[in-house]
């Protein structure tokens, strides 16, 4: 039997990006909630990293009395910070997975419709992962800025002007980059499972599914 299937199916990146951005804009309230969970997690993460950077900068360049005090407590400080860091990442991951699950489930019918129109599983995945990426980048940039700001204020109150003179800009920029990669990565990982589930559904099943 002759197969009559030759032509390509495609979803150009430009269109996919446009669709994802549109979704973000129109479901703004919902999108903000998803982004918030990333934002808060990353702000938490970034504030701890910033506080780390400040501590080391103080030990390196700060006045003698502060230096000795900090060196005495460094091991305890480190342990506490590792714990907080782990916690913040966990909260962030769970929050993102939860939000993405909701976002995908409530759009089940839309996914079914798209598959009726000829969308491949890959297109559905692409759309959701792109959206997750937008959430991730947006949330982690804003989150990082908030984290740095809060910690700078806290240290300013505690150590006054010394902080400005020893401000570890390079270190903080490095952490900034790290937290953006981390936030975006987490958002994508969080979206992966619901995106796979939704992309694999038979269209009839996706359309029928009540939320």
């Amino acid at each position: 039997m002759e197969k009559k299937i030759e032509k390509q199916l495609s979803l150009p990146l430009k269109n996919a990006l446009q669709m994802s951005l549109r979704n973000f804009k129109i479901r703004f309230g919902r999108a903000i909630i998803v982004t918030m969970s990333i934002l808060l997690g990353i702000a938490f993460f970034m504030s701890i990293m910033t506080s780390n950077a400040f501590t080391y900068a103080l030990i390196e360049k700060g006045p003698e009395n502060i230096k000795t005090l900090l060196i005495e407590n460094i091991s305890e400080l480190k342990a506490r910070q590792t714990w907080l860091l782990t916690l913040s990442l966990l909260v962030c991951t769970v929050g993102i997975i939860n939000s993405m699950l909701m976002a995908v489930t409530e759009r089940s019918r839309e996914i079914g419709t798209m598959k009726c129109l000829g969308a491949l599983d890959r297109f559905v995945m692409e759309l959701f992962l792109l959206e997750a990426m937008i959430h991730g980048i947006g949330g982690s940039i804003v989150g990082s800025i908030i984290g740095v700001l809060i910690m700078t204020i806290v240290y300013l109150i505690q150590y006054k002007k010394i902080i400005l003179s020893i401000f570890p800009l390079l270190q903080i920029l490095k952490y900034f980059g790290l937290s953006i990669i981390l936030g975006t990565g987490l958002a994508i990982i969080g979206a992966l499972y619901p995106a796979i589930v939704s992309a694999r559904m038979e269209p009839a099943e996706a359309i029928r599914r009540e939320v």
Binding site: I5, L11, G118
Partner: protein, 246 residues
Amino acid sequence: MPREVIVRTINLKKTYMLGKIPLPVLKGIDLEIEKGEYISIMGPSGSGKTTLFNMIGGLDKPTEGKVYIDEVDIAQLDAYELAWLRCRKIGYIFQTFNLIPVMTALENVMLPMIFAGMSTDDAREKAKLLLETVGLGDRLHHKPFELSGGQQQRVAIARALANDPAIILADEPTGNLDLKTGKEIINLLRQMNKEKQVSIITATHDLKMLDVSDRVIWIRDGMIERIEDRENLDIRVGHVEGEEAG
């Protein structure tokens, strides 16, 4: 003109599992639909219309039996080929319209063409043309929630026609519309059927459909009860309308 069968089902069965209890919905449907026909699948709710619709459209897998679209057994297609079939060969229309809520009418119609690899500009031109054909030339940039039910269904019809499919499948296309709008949608479907030679298969219990159908397939309890040609129908329509009036 030679007969050209566009849809063929052979002993089509579908059983859903309700927990551990099997519920047979389709119990062996044998069907042949020719190119350019307007078919109504009639039957009470729960008779298996929508399930049959899903099977023919490749939206769900049969438990047993075969569906051939254009002489291709769709069970043999892989995911990619199946998506291609849904994209190029079949247009779908639903009772609940199922437009993408975040897109304008124009973008909704463009979407299947973008999937099919058409350039954005070409897709836009064709989508405009299609929306004008269904009488929505002045509603191009409205979102679905800014359109009435009838208008949304017109967008859905334009979208179904986007890639010049051989078949349009419509599941209760008038189910959510008032009498007059429903009639308009039916006439529009008939017009498209005539102009574009596209086969139309509707699952419905709207008796207004009888007027325009070439054949009516009556389904009851997952079996074909009878198939009637248009000639034999006219008498029945009068009868039914008389009933409605009375």
